[in-house]
């Protein structure tokens, strides 16, 4: 038995090692600078919705090589349901026509070109619609199979990680919110560690046991070991129209301002 186990695991490792994966490094330098590295964990949280940034990240990540994008593959655990395909398609189209315009120096109105590029992008996007706790955990366990089957996936997104928290609580005992996030991250970490992928998840800002803000609680780490976060990104919507992201890494902390124009994030 032991020998079979040994073979099985090394098989996955071998596969992971051999597979040529499209890196997503430098794909969104405003936030990640030279990162994120495969194996990194990224957290996005905010009082309001995190969809605008998530959507922007996903679309940028899918941009084809021809247009200087990473053309990476993504798996999305859709537990929140608000990040819709229509939204992503609309955003992708905007981004594509902008890139085409920049690369050819004239506006591109050819919908055929855009649609074929869009199709290329969507082929690299895989979505899991999840509606209950059992499905959630089973699908996480099944991630190993998905990642083996689609070996070029380099980003795995959980939107949101905490969607089934209340469903899981029972009258006898309640798990603390922070421990709940840690527990889930440990499970995910255990599964993805043999695959070279980046994990990105969102959580609502209130989802924290302590009254302290999330960033004061746990530091970020350079190298992700279990449940250690490499990037923490907070989204702050401001009434006065200049929205912010606060980015924290293990050695840095900075702020970027943005507007939202036609669903697209415009960095200032």
């Amino acid at each position: 038995m032991a020998s079979i186990k040994c073979k099985m695991e090394s098989g996955i490792q071998l596969l992971a090692r051999l597979s040529k994966k499209t890196g997503i490094e430098r794909f969104y330098p405003i936030i990640f600078e030279s990162g994120p590295k495969l194996g990194d964990f990224i957290e996005i949280y905010g009082e309001g919705s995190t969809t605008c940034l998530l959507g922007d990240l996903i679309c940028e990540c899918l941009i084809p090589n021809d247009l200087n994008g990473p053309e990476a593959s993504i798996i999305v655990f859709n537990t929140d349901g608000k990040l819709t395909l229509d939204y992503l398609i609309n955003l992708s189209k905007i981004k594509l026509s902008k890139r085409l315009k920049n690369s050819t120096n004239k506006p591109c109105h050819d919908s055929k070109v855009i649609n074929s590029l869009l199709n290329l992008m969507l082929k690299n996007l895989f979505i899991l619609d999840i509606y209950n706790t059992t499905q959630f955990y089973t699908s996480i366990q099944n991630l190993e199979f998905f990642l083996t089957k689609y070996s070029n996936v380099s980003l795995c997104i959980f939107d949101t990680l905490t969607a089934f928290y209340w469903d899981e609580q029972n009258l006898q005992k309640a798990t603390k919110m922070d421990s709940y996030v840690k527990k889930l991250l440990r499970i995910v970490q255990k599964i993805v560690k043999d695959f070279k992928i980046t994990v990105l998840y969102s959580r609502p800002e209130y989802f924290s046991t302590s009254k302290e803000s999330i960033e004061n609680l746990e530091p970020c780490y350079e190298n992700s070991e279990s449940e250690q976060i490499n990037y923490r990104i907070q989204i702050v919507y401001n009434e006065k129209d200049v929205n912010l992201v606060n980015v924290r890494t293990y050695n840095k902390q900075f702020q970027k301002k943005f507007h939202i124009f036609n669903d697209e994030i415009v960095w200032l």
Partner: protein, 337 residues
Amino acid sequence: MNALERKEHVYLTESILKTLKQNRIITLFDFLQEEAEKLSTLTKLTLPQVLEIRQEIFKKHSAHLINGATLFINSLTCKKYIPTHITSLDEVLGGGIPVGLITEVCGLAGCGKSQLCMQLAINSVKESDDSVLYVDTKGDFSAVRIQKILDANGVSYKDMALIMLKIRVVHIWNMEDLITLLENIKNGILKIEKLSLIIVDSLPCLMLQHFGDENKIGLTFLNRVVNNSRYISKEFQTGFIYVNIQTRWIDQDVSEPEEIESSCTVKDITYNEKRNRCLGKYWQTIPALLLVIEKCSDYDIENNYENCVMIKVIVTRHTNPLLAENCTLKLNALGVT
């Protein structure tokens, strides 16, 4: 989380389940997480048999990975909106009440939430074969009002009957029943033909029953309601409206008088009325679309002969929470227009 049960696979006999339980393998997740070799040793099943059970569990319970391109093709033939047929509202909503997402209608008592919802119920079935389900949690639905609106709009008795047959109403008095109702729809036990819109008026009436509970069972129920609503709206291609309420609280602000005015040092105490959506933090992030309703200028109690109230609808989307668009609607004998 589902427990590991006999029905999952024929290999899982009572004695095997008992052994697993003794080793703290109780839920499906416990089983999936455990190393196959250990399970094999414990259960005396062969490794391929254990793997077979695993595969069966995945097949039954895991979500399916669907490719974006496939989803795109499927979505081309799907409807995206349930038009409200109120021109100015459809314009602000960009087409109508979104399909596959949760919409919240929110406002103070008596601001016209139920009136708008009844109008949406009428309008969504008026010019189609679709039907609407109105989940009434406080006896607010009035068929007499529906009939009066239709009558005032000159609808013939025959058409009136046809429209009213397509408006389905159910009374629900607690969260448990709401969950059961949604599960019945989800599992096909309760079939409503051509269901295009579900309106729950109102959610706080059920949730507030759990206010002040020692435990958080209300939130557990709410999570299940949300899960089932998401499933139904997506898989059955329906709009889903939840009515929420607002409460007010007063903030005392001491405002500095403008410097230009004079040099006097009197400080004005102004009261700031703040409004708050009910149902707590968990719920706040759930709706994709928020419609806040305000009654315009307060009516004059003794001289309101017109019997017409103007209501303002402020629409915000979760994708850009600060961008608010609004429209003003008229509420009178003809309904909401």
